[in-house]
Symmetry: C2
């Protein structure tokens, strides 16, 4: 496919916000990337256009049957003014994994990367420069065929929109209190848990709301079959440091293959810290805590990079981890990865793509 | 809330199609119903407007997090020209059950019913009159707030769109071949299976595609925990006649509370046929077949009313039910319910609402 991306510039550039004052994903840049798909023709018409509303038939399949996938990644501005994107190839590979599960046609990874670069270049002034800030990038595909039959759509749009975001930890990295979810289930083997698709997030809203009412900022998801094994925390992967070793739930088909997760594992291995990917039961964690060997716990994801867990509450039994403080290893992982992302530390693993 | 529904009539009425030649849900009537929601203001501005595309921000939550619910029901034209809708109050009650699970604000059932009636009245000429035809009605709610944070939306649109549909069985009721799904899972207790929400349907597309490649028209879903108990067939509830009794899976939290399902149970009970709602294992069905007591199997839903099952294939072991023919009870249920719906039979149970 020819990488001929048309660019239509906005005639009405927006005022850029003070990113320290905007909520996550509430303000969008001047432009967006679009690419259309029709059965028989394939993906076509890549273009950068002014950010704008799209016209949708009310019968479009995405509204009724949720046939949609998405990704999330970030661009960072370095002290010397370069713009770096973190592992974008991994996001588009995962998008195709999600497409496979959701019966959406594969996307050409090279074309998607070119579209992403062209869009970031067009809106390069929107990448904020303050410490800890970034430009959040949201690629997504929606099914647009206006037909109510329950079957895969014959038409799609792939889009990329972007939103400048403030520092996740404006007042320093801070551990959160987590409710271990015993009623609601996010995903199950054979379901869509390993795909980044809307339904998984829709399923999570209710549990999140109920946990918030109890003063917990996220839920820890247990597996849907046994309600025994730890899967994810909020919309992040989860890690535990037990007796010097780091353990994280193995990718069992219902857990998202996090790119931050993979990066953390690579960093830990490069430091010689043993990492185990295997089933982790909630009982094992409570036992380790009783034995005094549960040293740290943290979630990993694009938005926060690391979110230390200071407290777990499972069926009313509270467990305080590392005295409710950020652990040493959590802090080191956070400093290292954000250092690489912001260009302050050397990118030994070749993760950053300059735009 | 005042039931003051504004009506804006189309200036360009469409040509009505030959419903015997259109696919399900591909052609829409001249008008649609809309109702807006904003946090702090509630549902407001009920209106009937010309059917048209809607303008959506690309960041609207429905595209990313699938916060959406829907319903499906039908209007029928009687031989004497009246227009009847089948149990619409039940659909809006279920919509609120779905809203509850998906963290969407409740809808006023009376207002929704008024909107439905006003819309059907406005497009009454679109209700087809040939035997077996109907006007399919699709109420749905989508989250429209343009914010990427994973949390319930603060804005929604409720809409009703309508599509004239041909006879489901143009050449007479006909049993289908069903693949018993052992890999993919539709829903699990604690998940969203009992809500009519997009993600459940998105999750089903892949299994349906793979079954179609093997020559099966639908899949029979087993429970996601044990992969042992029968849940639904395609997007229908499922019934079995075993040794004179009718059994159907109990509503366990992962099965949709079908309105056709409920109606069938009421009809059967009114005839004195014993009905059991309880867990039904796939092994029990295979054993009943070996014992010669599996007499009939059928799915129930709005689109087909009854879809007899002529063959099951579980892990390659095929089982032919009633010689692959429509069973006597299946046929009687079909004739009775479609008779009531079309106004040919007396509506003893008070199910039909005249518009």
């Amino acid at each position: 496919m020819a990488l001929n991306i048309e660019v239509e510039l906005t005639k009405a550039p927006k005022q850029k916000p003070d990113v320290s004052r905007v909520g996550f994903g509430t303000v969008f840049t001047d432009h967006m990337f679009m690419l259309d798909y029709e059965e028989g023709r394939g993906w076509h018409s890549p273009r950068v256009v002014p950010y704008q509303s799209i016209s949708m038939d009310p019968a479009a399949k995405v509204f009724h049957y949720g046939q949609t996938v998405f990704e999330g990644l970030k661009a960072y501005r370095t002290a010397d003014g370069r713009i770096l994107v973190f592992r974008p190839d991994q996001n588009f590979k995962r998008l195709n994994h999600s497409n496979e599960r959701m019966s959406i046609p594969h996307l050409d990874v090279e074309l998607a990367l070119e579209g992403l670069k062209k869009l970031v270049q067009t809106d390069r002034d929107w990448v904020p420069e303050t410490e800890g800030t970034s430009l959040y990038i949201r690629p997504f595909i929606i099914a647009t065929e206006p037909v109510l039959g329950v079957a895969a759509s014959k038409r799609y749009i792939f889009m990329i929109i972007m939103s400048p975001v403030g520092a996740y930890y404006a007042e320093g990295i801070r551990p959160v209190k987590i409710h271990v979810e015993s009623e609601f289930v996010r995903a199950v083997p054979g379901g869509t848990g390993s795909a980044k698709t809307a339904g998984n997030y829709a399923a999570s809203l209710k549990a999140q709301e109920e946990a918030a009412l109890e003063g917990y900022s996220q839920v820890l998801w247990l597996d849907g079959v046994h309600k025994k094994y730890v899967e994810e925390v909020g919309s992040m992967n989860v890690f535990f440091k037990v007796n010097g070793k780091v353990i994280t739930p193995a990718l069992n088909g219902s857990i998202l293959k996090g790119i931050t997760r993979d990066s953390m594992i690579q960093l830990l291995q490069s430091w010689g810290v043993p990492v185990e990917e295997r089933p982790v039961s909630i009982e094992e964690l409570y036992e380790a805590h009783r034995a005094g060997t549960l040293e740290e716990a943290f979630g990993t994801g694009t938005a926060a990079v690391i979110s230390p867990v200071g407290e777990l509450n499972w069926r009313g039994e509270k467990l305080i981890i590392n005295g409710g403080e950020t652990g040493e290893l959590s802090a080191k992982l956070y400093e290292t990865l954000t250092g690489i992302q912001s260009g302050k530390l050397e990118d030994k693993l070749g993760w950053m793509v300059q735009v």
